[in-house]
């Protein structure tokens, strides 16, 4: 099936970090089965860094490859660094996705962000983080 490049195929065939984390610090779920793809990211946060990232994905080859590479890109990074993982960066890291699969890279970045939001909310820091991001932009 030569629709995907080698890197996407490699991540699809051997996805990294599949699974769930028991008692995760944050969970982010995006998409729904109706529109085709659904991703759930689980994160563990130690000292402002993602010490563990796991995911479960319902979807096509691209959705699975995106989930895998996003989990790799995020592992060990600080929350601030993880916030900077954009869909474009995900697609770039996968060395390109077919046009009609590009939305899968959005889902990966979104799911991860949601997991962080969930973590911050649990920590009661959601507001603080928003302010911080705003400051960064300014």
């Amino acid at each position: 099936m030569p629709v995907y490049n080698e890197k996407v195929m490699e991540h699809f065939m051997n996805p990294r970090n599949v699974g769930e984390i028991e008692n995760p610090d944050g969970i982010g779920e995006v998409g729904n089965p109706v529109c085709g793809d659904m991703m759930t990211f689980y994160i563990k946060v130690d000292d402002n860094r993602l010490s563990d990232v796991k995911f479960k994905t319902f979807g096509c080859g691209a959705a699975i490859a995106v989930s895998s590479i996003v989990s790799e890109m995020a592992m060990g990074k600080t929350l601030e660094e993880v916030r900077k993982i954009t869909p474009a960066l995900v697609a770039q890291e996968l060395e390109g996705l077919p046009k009609n699969k590009y939305h899968c890279s959005n889902l990966g970045a979104q799911a991860l962000n949601k997991a962080i939001n969930n973590y911050l909310k649990k920590q009661g820091k959601a507001g603080e983080s928003k302010r911080r991001r705003k400051d960064e932009k300014e």
């Binding site: 479960k56 319902f58 080859g61 691209a62 959705a63």
Partner: protein, 395 residues
Amino acid sequence: MRKVYLDHVATTPVSHEVLEAMLPYLKDAYGNPQSLHDWGDEAREAIEDARGRVASLIGAQPGEIIFTSSGTEANNFAIKGLALAQQSKGKHIVVSAIEHFSLLHSARTLEKWGFELTLVPVDRYGVVDPEGVAKSIREDTILVSVMHASSEVGTIQPIREIARLAKEAGAIFHTDAVATTGTIPVDVKELAVDALSLAGNQFYGPKGAGALWVKKGARIIPFLDGGVQEGGRRAGTENVPAIVGLGKAAELAKAEMESRTDRLLALRNRLIEGLPSRIEHVRLTGHPTQRLPGNSSFCIEFIEGEAMLMLLSSKGVAASSGSACTSKVLKASHVLTAMGIPPAIAQGSLLFSFGLDNTEEDVDYVLEVLPPIVDKLRQMSPLYSKFLKEERGGK
């Protein structure tokens, strides 16, 4: 690695005999059938011979066969050509909700041209209710079209009954028989239809040759304007080798139909019976008995079709799927949707379509490689883990 082709709905291979019949017309017998010399005569005789064979396969007169480039062209031609020829009588057409896109989109184009369209629904097995068709027909209905069978879910329609009701109401009746011609008995008199589409690459003929049968006396507006080919109804130099191949394929299909059906049924049933005992939460789509002999289509719950196809492909197995992610436009198959299959389930669509080269070992190979693939994807699926948690919670 073992290679198993189970995507005969996409196309069948060209059979050896068909290829042999075609070769002379790709070599020395290169004449244009319209030419008035020996080369022309040779080519003309070849396509007229093929016309006779195709007519014989469907119980028609040779003069009623119009060769086209494909089933898609035949459907376009039928819907647009028949509707345009009847437009002084009315502007309403009726087609089923599960037609092939070549037909459905042709009907949509007619809508843009000022015609009115009614889509007839199907039941959960994909069967068009003849009464539903009858109810959709109005005073000004000029054309009704319902496919003979869906290649996607295999369901065979009660065409004879639908055609009778349509014609009683004064409409012309067309059927897209691309999925059935050359595979199961198709006789235009028995089906009592007015027009019928077929395609050679569905029964071991080459790509590039299809046909539209239009009952003698029925009016149709030419699809391609130009010369006098095909009785002036379809201009353009005839694709002689492909037409010859289609003719040969028709001859073989007629002669071997029963034995072919027996073989396909055995393979199909082996898979349909074997899969549910190896994989949980699998449902057969389409009608359990009124279905094409080579078709076994399923929805495998909690996972997605394209991912399954990719993993099957890595094991050498070629299949197809109607999942949204598989389609270029990211929409779940309109056939599965029309059958009322929920979107999440339709995402797990998987279709194995058998052909004459397949063996029991091929089926057993699929039964061996598919369960671990399903297992791998389910281990990754949040839907499956949710289901398991709910199941555990329920107990």
